[in-house]
Every structure is written in structure tokens, then in C-alpha cells.
């Protein structure tokens, strides 16, 4: 028998022909595999690209939605909140809700690409209002702080609303005697027993004369009749907030939460309200004191 030679009819072919046949089958298998891979690649690319473009340009739900978050409590943003009693716990809860709502709004505004300043309102508030509620801290100075949070969060939300609408923010000052009253639509002479309001931006000048000139904003009720100030309790007794002696003469107190300083704009107010240790930390020349916190 010869190698690779022809054998009888119907006999098994020789080794060389068997090798050649195997090579041909291998080539065809590679081509088929390559074709299959290309088809899979094309189909995959088309499907993924379609999903990506649908995700980019539409709001179609492309995958199961996560469970909807629980409904948030409604926040009372009115100037004079409808509260049964102005006690610390109730106001603290309202201030915390306003702070959370403003923080959420600021975060959404940043994600939406609105031009917000780098050091946003939320970070400033967190530095000051992030402390948990502590009943042992239920003192007069904290009540005044909480009232400041209520006012400042309201200013912040109005600023955001104006930013989205493209309008200019026009400040509406609160009532000097109680920032939880209706807005200060009236002008009355400066209370003689109130502290003065040094300006954190250095607009001081003949401040006493300026204050007596423009007076303070007050709600209609306080302007017409005996004023009902926001009373805060201290160890020395109960006083209107603007008469309260404290280690930190907070600017929001001395400025009446903005009611006594009509020349300040929103930036001045927010700077004063948030940086309310400024007078303890900085000296006359604006340099940070050595013992400042």
C-alpha cells in the first residue's frame, strides 16, 4: 500500500488528504467564528448605543425605578409661622426643616448647573446649624439663633427663586421687634434701648446718625401699638432679643435680623448672619485674633 495513494473504491483517504481537509474545516470555522463575533459586536453596540441615547435625550424608564422616597413634611415658609407657641423645640424643628429644604434646593441648583457661588448657603448653615437638638441648650441665645436660621433660610430660598426666574432679589425686612411677625412694612424710629449694629463689611461711619435717620422696619401691629418683642430667657432674666447680653454680640441681633439696616444687601445679611462670631474673632483691623476659635 502506498502512502496517500489511491486505494480501492470507498476506502478511507490518505493522511495528506485528511490533513488538508482538516485545515479547510478549521479555516471555515474561523471565518464563521469571526462572522459570529462581528455580528454579536454589532448587535451589542446597536443595543447599547440606543439605550445610551435614550437615556441621554429622553426620560423613558430604562430600568426598574428604585422605591420612591418617603414624602417629606411640608415646610412653613411664611414670615409669621403658624405655630401654637413660640417655644424653642417647635422653632428648632421648623428651622431644621427649612435648613434641610434649602440644602436640598441648593444641591439641586448645583446639579442643574445654575451659577451658584462656591461657598454655598448649605455649607455655611451646616457649620452653624448642624448640631442636633439638645434640650440642655434651650436658652435664650439659642432661640435667637433659631430665629436667625428661619430668616436666613427664607432669604436663601428667595435668592434661589430669583436666580431661576432671572429677576433681582428685593429684600423685605422682617419686623425689628420680632422676626417671626409679619414683614416689616412700616418704618418707626430706632428703639432707644436697642444695641447699635456694627457693619461686618465696614460700612460704619456716623452709624448712630444713620440709624436714627432711617429707623427700623416694623410690622403693622408693632408699629401701631405696643411692640411685642421676641423675648429670650437668660439667667439674668427675660429680655427682648435685641437687649440680650451675650458673649457673642451676634450681628443678626444688633441689626434686627436686617430690619435696622436697609442699606445692606442680601450678601451683607448672609455674611453677617452666618459669620456671627465675626466680632469676637477679628480685631479692629480685620485681622484674626490669636484666641479666636
Amino acid at each position: 500500500m502506498r502512502w496517500g495513494g489511491e486505494g480501492p473504491a470507498g476506502a478511507v483517504p490518505g493522511r495528506a488528504s485528511r490533513v488538508q481537509g482538516a485545515d479547510a474545516d478549521e479555516g471555515e470555522r474561523m471565518d464563521a467564528t469571526t462572522r459570529a463575533a462581528m455580528i454579536l459586536a454589532g448587535v451589542t453596540a446597536v443595543v447599547v448605543l440606543t439605550l445610551a441615547l435614550l437615556h441621554r435625550f429622553t426620560d423613558l424608564p430604562l430600568w426598574p425605578r428604585r422605591r420612591r422616597p418617603a414624602e417629606r413634611p411640608v415646610v412653613d415658609w411664611s414670615s409669621a409661622p403658624d405655630l401654637p407657641a413660640y417655644d424653642y423645640a417647635v422653632l428648632y424643628e421648623l428651622a431644621a426643616r427649612r435648613r434641610d429644604a434649602l440644602g436640598r434646593a441648593v444641591r439641586c441648583a448645583r446639579e442643574a448647573g445654575l451659577p451658584l457661588p462656591e461657598d454655598g448657603l448649605d455649607t455655611a448653615f451646616e457649620r452653624r446649624t448642624g448640631q442636633p437638638y439638645d434640650r440642655r441648650a434651650e436658652e435664650g441665645v439659642d432661640l435667637a439663633d433659631v430665629a436667625a436660621v428661619l430668616e436666613v433660610t427664607r432669604i436663601g430660598m428667595r435668592s434661589l427663586a430669583c436666580l431661576t426666574q432671572g429677576s433681582t432679589l428685593v429684600l423685605d425686612p422682617p419686623c425689628y421687634f420680632n422676626p417671626l411677625h409679619e414683614r416689616g412694612t412700616e418704618r418707626i424710629p430706632y428703639p432707644p434701648d436697642a444695641f447699635s449694629a456694627p457693619d461686618p463689611e465696614g460700612h460704619d461711619g456716623d452709624q448712630g446718625e444713620d440709624e436714627e435717620d432711617h429707623g427700623v422696619a416694623a410690622c403693622a401691629a408693632c408699629a401701631a401699638g405696643p411692640a411685642e418683642p421676641l423675648l429670650v430667657w437668660t439667667r439674668e432674666g427675660t429680655f427682648p432679643y435685641y437687649r440680650m447680653e451675650s458673649g457673642t454680640k451676634a450681628v443678626y441681633q444688633t441689626s434686627g435680623y436686617g430690619a435696622a439696616v436697609p442699606e445692606w444687601d442680601a450678601d451683607d445679611l448672609l455674611t453677617a448672619f452666618v459669620e456671627w462670631h465675626v466680632f469676637d474673632q477679628y480685631d479692629e483691623n480685620g485681622a484674626l485674633k490669636e484666641n479666636a476659635s
Binding site: 470555522r29 464563521a32 453596540a45 445610551a52 441615547l53 415658609w77 427663586a161
Partner: protein, 66 residues
């Protein structure tokens, strides 16, 4: 009869997955921008953020804010 080596053909799926973010989607977005002749619309995340912000501001206006 030819058979497919599916262990190698599956690699095409990976190639397809890589092609989309590296080449196809950027080309598609560029083409869309050229055809529209204006910037692309905001992304889904931006649209959701704007919707949520609008809801918060509507609540602010509805419950006493001005």
C-alpha cells in the same frame, strides 16, 4: 458543515460594549450637536435636578414664601 467557536465569538460582545463609550456615543453626540447647531439639551440628571428644584421652589411659593 461549519461550526462556530462560541467561546471566541462571545468576545464580540465585549468589543461591542467597548465601542459604544469610546467611539460611537461621542460620535453620535457630536453629530447631534452639529445637526442641531446649538448646544445639546441638559442631561437626565440635570433635568431631574431642575424638576426637583422647581418642586421645592413651588412649595416655597405655595407655603408662604415670596
Amino acid at each position: 458543515m461549519t461550526t462556530v467557536d462560541w467561546s471566541r465569538a462571545v468576545a464580540g460582545i465585549l468589543v461591542g460594549l467597548l465601542l459604544v463609550p469610546l467611539l460611537l456615543q461621542p460620535l453620535a453626540l457630536l453629530t447631534a450637536r452639529i445637526v442641531r447647531r446649538r448646544p445639546l439639551p441638559p442631561t437626565r440628571a440635570q433635568r431631574r435636578a431642575r424638576a426637583e428644584l422647581a418642586a421645592v421652589l413651588d412649595e416655597f411659593a405655595e407655603h408662604g414664601g415670596r
